[in-house]
Structure formats: structure tokens, C-alpha cells
């Protein structure tokens, strides 16, 4: 029996996550991932005006708010029989694109970079760069003052930590720059989205913001600014770290896990939604050459180890949401979704592998990089670059569309709730595959459910005892010093966890009132 250690809370993520591992001979032998907060949004939505859903579900998550609104609106579009006009579709893509840009930049710099930097190396910076000296003064000033919160306490730097004073000082400067540029990216979304976080302008059938020339011009200049940062700073930093100090971690495939990948696809390029910019698909058992189409009928969810009433694995649509906080063997509010019975990884690495992104494939063939924590950072950066270029294309399309007579942004004819209907909205969140389902009866919500990215990634064991992807990705990860388990958080943060939305999930199909046993 190895030594058990717990990291709770795992910080610098969205939501509340606990990771427990068993260490033997300096390596992780077993792992458990627990979501430790639940709210229960779906019951709240039952019986309400269906149009409220796209507003309320944005609050599933204050980090990837836009994609919940989008998936919800897409489910409403189908249920209402609404046709989103090209103008509305392009505006939605631009709004959601801005979310990706801010989210990925924030994730790399604010949420994970500190795990790879020996920040105190800054004190040894002896260069002459004025901007870097200003950063040095700032950090040294904090140390002298004896108050380095929130940069400390921290896990101690290890063999994989970057301690070259110039690189570290530059990285911290980029941390501070990124804090500003992620605001620019998010504000850009507010131009067409109304405000952020929690965009307001996405409704069933399209968007509410009629764009004018001034807004388009402002969006363009902000997009250019963010694009320059992504290509000149973010891309360079990831390549510098990935091909440099972190290459051994990358080549060892630390944090790889099950090597099953799933993407629903995202960003419709036509009004039928058939041509998607991010392609959907499935990769099984690390067989990177073979991508098969995704079939939603093959999704099931197990609640064996989650705090819900015991039930055999079923398709999400047959699922129910009766909390059982006293359940034996349960250790998470997150359910365990499976595809053909297999746990899947979702997110940028899954998307870029499924699309066989050439630069990522180049890292695999030329540098021997294996899927794992470092590859996740590379994939996230590569899709950011891909997307920021495509947003320029969409903006061009918007300018063209807006000049046409009869330019439309919303389907007014299908805005009132139907007597009955059902719809599903699939979207790719920055952190992975997201689905919303709605059923409408008597013009009200009869049933609402969501299966979110972190449910896939953060799931506990299923009924067969098979670990979720976070858990599996920790197996074999070196933890030479149990007092300083820095590799655990490196691996977990590489997924960009977002736990709040993983635990609001599904409400009972039967309209049964949620029950909980209280001691």
C-alpha cells in the first residue's frame, strides 16, 4: 500500500476539485477525482419560458459562459424550428471566438504558467532590458516588503521548472501583459455580445445586436491586437517552453491517460450547420491515424461512483438527477459519461488530433512529442492561432453580409415558444465537447440537461471500475516528493478544468422532484 495524498482544492481552475492519489516508489499508482460542489440548475429551469434557458445556462460557468449560451440557443433553435440567418450565425461565431481567445490566453499564463516557473529566479536577472527590469523591480519589491501573496506559497520548483533568469523574467512580463490582453479579447466579444462575462445578445434564432460600421471597425482593431499577441508572444512562449525545458516531459507523454479522444465539432460555416470549422470525430486507443464519426447514440452515463441515486448506465436523455449524498462508494458530484463504454478525453488536444493539425503532427513526428500534459498546451495554442485567423475571415464575411439588402441577424418569425418540441445543441467549449438537450411541453421547459466537457474529463470511475481521464492521466506520473506534488497539478491543469458546470447536469425526465436524504 502506497502513501495517499490529497490536493484539495486544486486551485487556478474554475470550480472546486479534489484530487487524491496513491504514491508508490515515487510514482502515482492510483488516483481519484472529485467534484465537490453542486447546485442543480436543471430543476430550476423546469416549467419556465424556454427562452430563459440560454440566459440561465450561461451561469453554468463564468469562464466558458458563451459556449453554454450557444449550445442552449442551438438546442432552442431546433426546438423552436428557428433558422439562424447568416448574419446571426457569423456574429455568434465571432462572439464565441472571442471567448476562446481570452480563455486560452488566460489558461496558459494566469492558470498554468506558475507551475513551470521558478519565479524567484527573477532576482538574478542582470540584463538591461528596461521592461524586464521593471518586472524585476516589481517582484523584488514584493519580496523586500515581505508580502508576496498571491505568488506564494507555492509548490517548490523541481527539475522541470524553468529557472533561467531572463526567460523567467520575460515569462512574468508576459503573465502581466496577458492579464491585459485577455481583457481585450473578452471585451471584443462584448461589442457584439453586449457585455462579458455572460453575454446578453444571444437568443433563440440568432443575436440581438444589430452591428454598425463603428463596432465592426473597433472589433477589427482589437482582433488585430489580440492576434499579434497570440502569434508574437503566446505561440513563441509555448514553443520555447515545449521544445526546450519541457521537451522531456512532452516526449515521455506525462499525463497521457486513456488516449481516447472525442470532439462534437463547432463553429458552423453554413446555415444548415453541416460544415463545421472545428471538425467532430472520435479516436480510440491512441490510434491517431483513424478518426471515426461521432454518433451521439453511443453515449451513456454511469452514476456508480457519483452522489446520485443508483441506476444502470443510460443515454443522457434517459438519465435522472436524484441526489443521494449518503451513497456508498460515491466520491464525486460528477457523473461518468462513456462512449461505447469507454472514457474519452475532450478539449483542444482531442480537437487538433481529430483534425490532424499539421503542426501538432509535426511535433509528434519530428520531436517525438506524445499526447500528454505538454501536448495539451501545444494543441491549445495551435487552435488559438487557427481560430484567430479564421475570425478575420468571418469578420470579412460579416462586412459583406451587412452590406446586402435584407441583412438579417435573428429569426423573428420563430421567436415565440412552440406548444411542444425538442432540440439538442452540440458545441465545442474551449475545454471540450458540450451538449445541451431541451424538451418543451405547453410552451414551457419540460426537461433540460447538459453533458459538459469536464464531466468527460473529470469523471470518477464507472460501473466497471474504469477510471476517468483525469484519474488515468495521473497513473505513473512521477511524484518524487509527496510533500511537493507539483506534477499532479501540472497534469490536471493541462486539461483546463472547469468544474462548476460539470456538476449541474441533468434533471429527471419524469419531472420527479429532486430528493435528497438529510441525516
Amino acid at each position: 500500500m502506497g502513501r495517499r495524498i490529497t490536493v484539495d482544492p486544486v486551485t487556478r481552475i474554475e470550480g472546486h476539485l479534489k484530487i487524491e492519489v496513491e504514491i508508490e516508489n515515487g510514482k502515482i499508482k492510483d488516483a481519484w477525482s472529485s467534484g465537490t460542489m453542486a447546485r442543480g440548475f436543471e430543476a430550476l429551469l423546469t416549467g419556465r419560458d424556454p427562452r430563459d434557458a440560454s440566459f440561465v445556462t450561461s451561469r453554468f460557468c463564468g469562464v466558458c459562459f458563451s459556449v453554454h449560451t450557444m449550445a442552449s440557443a442551438a438546442a432552442l433553435d431546433e426546438a423552436f424550428g428557428a433558422q439562424v440567418p447568416d448574419g446571426g450565425r457569423i456574429l455568434r461565431n465571432l462572439i464565441m471566438g472571442s471567448e476562446y481567445l481570452y480563455d486560452h490566453i488566460l489558461h496558459f499564463y494566469q492558470l498554468t504558467a506558475l507551475d513551470y516557473l521558478d519565479i524567484m529566479a527573477i532576482a538574478d536577472y542582470n540584463g538591461m532590458d528596461k521592461e524586464l527590469l521593471a518586472v524585476k523591480d516589481k517582484i523584488v519589491g514584493l519580496v523586500k516588503r515581505g508580502d508576496t501573496y498571491p505568488l506564494t506559497p507555492r509548490y517548490e520548483p523541481d527539475a522541470f521548472s524553468v529557472n533561467d533568469p531572463e526567460i523567467v523574467t520575460m515569462a512574468v512580463k508576459h503573465y502581466l501583459d496577458a492579464l491585459k490582453i485577455q481583457v481585450t479579447a473578452r471585451n471584443m466579444g462584448a461589442i457584439f455580445g453586449g457585455r462579458a462575462p455572460h453575454f446578453q445578445s444571444i437568443v433563440v434564432g440568432g443575436v440581438t445586436q444589430y452591428p454598425d460600421a463603428e463596432q465592426i471597425g473597433r472589433f477589427k482593431s482589437m482582433l488585430d491586437e489580440v492576434s499579434a499577441f497570440i502569434k508574437n508572444v503566446y505561440m513563441q512562449d509555448v514553443l520555447l517552453f515545449g521544445k526546450g525545458p519541457l521537451l522531456p516531459l512532452a516526449q515521455a507523454g506525462i499525463g497521457g491517460g486513456h488516449l481516447n479522444y472525442l470532439s462534437y465539432g463547432s463553429f458552423p460555416e453554413d446555415s444548415a450547420g453541416e460544415n463545421l470549422f472545428f471538425k467532430g470525430g472520435v479516436i480510440k486507443n491512441g490510434n491517431l491515424g483513424t478518426v471515426v464519426p461521432f454518433d451521439q447514440a453511443k453515449v451513456t452515463e454511469s452514476v456508480k461512483h457519483a452522489w446520485y441515486k443508483e441506476k444502470d448506465p443510460v443515454h443522457p436523455y434517459e438519465g435522472e438527477q436524484i441526489f443521494d449524498l449518503d451513497k456508498k462508494d460515491a466520491y464525486s458530484f460528477v457523473k461518468a459519461p462513456r462512449y461505447e463504454g469507454m472514457p474519452m478525453e475532450v478539449g483542444p488536444l482531442a480537437r487538433m488530433l481529430i483534425m490532424k493539425e499539421p503542426n501538432l503532427m509535426g511535433l509528434v513526428t519530428d520531436y517525438g512529442v506524445k499526447p500528454g500534459a505538454v501536448a495539451r498546451h501545444a494543441a491549445r495554442m495551435l487552435e488559438t492561432v487557427m481560430l484567430v485567423d479564421q475570425m478575420q475571415v468571418w469578420l470579412g464575411q460579416l462586412i459583406e453580409e451587412a452590406g446586402k439588402p435584407g441583412f438579417r441577424i435573428q429569426d423573428t418569425a420563430n421567436y415565440e415558444p412552440p406548444e411542444s418540441g425538442e432540440g439538442v445543441g452540440f458545441y465545442e467549449a474551449p475545454r471540450g465537447a458540450l451538449g445541451h438537450w431541451i424538451k418543451i411541453k405547453d410552451k414551457k421547459i419540460e426537461n433540460y440537461q447538459a453533458v459538459v466537457p469536464s464531466t468527460w474529463n473529470a469523471s470518477p470511475r464507472d460501473e466497471k471500475g474504469v477510471r476517468g481521464q483525469y484519474e488515468e492521466s495521473l497513473i505513473g506520473v512521477p511524484v518524487p516528493d509527496p510533500e511537493n506534488p507539483i506534477n499532479i497539478v501540472r497534469v490536471i491543469r493541462s486539461f483546463d478544468p472547469c468544474l462548476a458546470c460539470a456538476v449541474h447536469v441533468i434533471h429527471p425526465r419524469t419531472n420527479e422532484i429532486l430528493k435528497f436524504r438529510i441525516e
Binding site: T11, T36, V63, Y149, G194, T208, Q209
Partner: protein, 353 residues
């Protein structure tokens, strides 16, 4: 002195103070006073930021603050002892930082997210129920600032099976010790409302003047409707019916469900995201997120809330047009309607007061 107090240069520091003064509605003349107050602080005031049943939207919104900027605040102005989304520490180290700071006392406690009233186990961090952590942290706090709809009045989680409650309610029930409390609502919190409140507290060592719901009057004393850029269209009876019609794009959104007539906030003046846009500006309408009634009391969001002053709102235009012919009478009707709009409206339990 200055260099030992903060690690930014004098020019940046004065810019910071000017931004702070602007946030608080103070004149340029107040900048030296702000600077003096901040410089005289012996050490950076400690802040503990707890997240309960939240979505981290308020944390993300906080990073939207640009003048003063986020980095200036978290590195130079306050000593941020605990913040799950931003701090370097994890696990035991994070919890130790929290416990040490609680022992030290005298900090400002910021709470984001609600407390589950139905069962403590709906929200546990480091195996401790969230309500317990808030109780311990509030006990030694100098003041508590609740941010966002969830932590102030329960927000969206209040309507869920876990029954999220705000800090006010938890204090009223005796679950959390009573301390000076400031509510800074909206969903998410407006970064300038929050930073302005923090800075006010740091400058004056007391909560700003507040309304009955403990909202700073500085930001929440006016109805959105009274200052709305679309108010003229309301008075003219011009209501948006089709988002695709260029001519209607700035019309009043009341028929689309706008809750501006029942919602207190300076959003029309301040707007969001560095003034780029706001909820009414983008044609969606206000959803009443600064009010205790939000969300259940504001639902359905996309339907007209009620008729006003005995007039079917759809016919206000015709009434007003007729009234213009008789001069003052038209103005009188307008005033009467305005008065009525300020009273009554959605309540926490739904329906109207």
C-alpha cells in the same frame, strides 16, 4: 516610503490614484488625498476571497478592471491571501494560507457564490462545508463584501434544489457572524463597482452609504429606466419588435422583457467592458441582475413584465401622441407613468410587490 510601499513608479502610482478617484466619483482635487491614504498604510491590507456555489464569473469580471488594473490591485494594493482561481498555492498550502490569515484577522472578506441552505454537503472545499469556512472567515474579518447575485441575495442558485443563499440571509439566520456587510450585486459583479467599493473601504475604513439592500448608493441609487439611452423611444411609444430592422435597432426593449424599470444600477452611464457596450445597448434588454428578486422574481426574462399606469404599454405611443396636442397634460401623464414605474415590480418570490 513610496518605493518600499509599492513596487510601481510614481507616475503609475498617481495614475492609479486618479483612476481610483474617478471610480468613486471624486474630483481630480481628491487625488493627493487618495495617494496619501494609500501611502500611509503600513502594509498592504489583507484580503481573503472565498468562492462557494459560484461560476467564477465574478472572478473573471474582476480581471476586467483596467484603471486601476488587475495586476496593480493584486500585487501592489492588496495582499491577496486566498483566491482559488488566482493563487499559486494548491491543497494544503492554500488551506494553510487561509487559516494563517484568519488567525491574523483584520482582513476584508470577499465572498463570491452562495451557501447551499438545503444541505451543507452541496458545497465543500478541502472537506469543509462552505458555510463553515465563511463562518470562520467572517468571525475575524474587518468587513465582508459580497459580490455578484449569488453571494448577495442567492441569485440563480436560490431557485435550485441546493437552495443557495446569500451572506445577508446567512447572517440573519445566525449561520455567519454579523459583520459590516456591503452587497455588490449584478451577475456577474461589475468590476468597477467592486473595485470602487474596495477602494472606498480602504480609504475611509467604513462601508460607503448604502440602501436598504446594503448596496452602495454610489452605484445603485438610480433606476436603469430613468437614465436609459432608449428612454426617449419609450416616451414616444417606440418599442423594438424586430431585431432585423435597422430603424428599430435603438427602440425601447420593454416589450422584449427589459427589466430596466425595476432595476437599480448605474449601468446606463457606466456601461460594461470599458464602456464598449451593455445589456440594453446590445438590444437584449436588462434582466434585473442587481435586484434581490433576481433570478426567479425576474423570470420570464423575455416577456413584458406588466402594463404600466393602467395603460397597455403597446398603446402608450398613441396615448402620448394624443397628449402632446394638449401640451402639459402629456407631460403630466409621462410623469405619472415614471412615478409608477419606480414602484412595484418583481419580488424575490416572483410576481409583483
Amino acid at each position: 516610503m513610496l518605493t518600499s510601499f509599492r513596487s510601481i513608479n510614481r507616475r503609475d502610482f498617481l495614475k492609479f490614484c486618479a483612476g481610483t478617484a474617478t471610480l468613486l466619483g471624486l474630483s481630480e482635487a481628491a487625488v493627493p488625498r487618495v495617494a496619501k491614504a494609500l501611502e500611509e498604510a503600513a502594509k498592504k491590507p489583507p484580503v481573503i476571497w472565498l468562492e462557494g456555489q459560484d461560476c467564477a464569473g465574478c472572478s473573471i469580471s474582476f480581471t476586467n478592471t483596467s484603471n486601476p488594473g488587475t495586476a496593480e490591485i493584486i500585487l501592489d494594493t492588496i495582499s491577496l491571501r486566498y483566491h482559488e482561481a488566482l493563487m499559486a498555492a494548491s491543497g494544503h498550502q492554500a488551506e494553510k494560507a487561509l487559516q494563517d490569515s484568519i488567525k491574523e484577522g483584520g482582513y476584508v472578506l470577499v465572498v463570491e457564490g452562495s451557501i447551499p441552505e438545503a444541505d451543507d454537503r452541496y458545497c465543500k472545499i478541502a472537506d469543509v462545508p462552505f458555510v463553515q469556512t465563511v463562518k470562520e472567515a467572517a468571525a475575524n474579518a474587518a468587513a465582508v463584501i459580497a459580490i455578484g447575485a449569488c453571494a448577495t441575495y442567492g441569485g440563480i442558485p436560490r431557485g435550485t434544489p441546493s437552495k443557495g443563499m446569500g451572506i445577508s440571509a446567512a447572517m440573519d439566520k445566525g449561520l455567519v457572524p454579523k459583520k459590516p456587510l456591503i452587497n455588490v450585486p449584478t451577475c456577474p459583479v461589475h468590476p468597477e463597482h467592486f473595485v470602487g467599493t474596495v477602494v472606498y473601504y480602504l480609504l475611509y475604513k467604513k462601508p460607503p452609504p448604502m440602501d436598504a439592500h446594503l448596496r452602495p448608493l454610489l452605484f445603485y441609487d438610480k433606476l436603469i429606466h430613468d437614465n436609459c439611452e432608449r428612454r426617449g423611444h419609450f416616451e414616444n411609444g417606440e418599442f423594438l419588435a424586430d431585431w432585423n430592422d435597422f430603424k428599430q435597432r435603438n427602440f425601447c426593449l420593454y416589450l422584449k422583457g427589459c427589466k430596466g424599470p425595476f432595476t437599480h444600477s448605474d449601468c446606463p452611464k457606466r456601461r460594461w467592458n470599458d464602456g464598449l457596450n451593455w445589456c440594453i445597448g446590445c438590444g437584449a434588454g436588462c434582466q434585473g441582475c442587481s435586484e434581490p428578486a433576481f433570478y426567479t422574481g425576474m423570470s420570464p426574462l423575455y416577456q413584458k413584465t406588466k402594463d404600466i399606469a393602467g395603460y397597455r404599454i403597446e398603446t402608450v405611443g398613441a396615448v402620448m401622441a394624443g397628449a402632446v396636442a394638449v401640451g402639459l397634460a402629456g407631460h403630466f401623464i409621462g410623469q405619472a407613468m415614471t412615478g409608477r414605474l419606480g414602484k412595484g415590480g418583481p419580488t424575490e418570490k416572483g410576481g409583483e410587490s
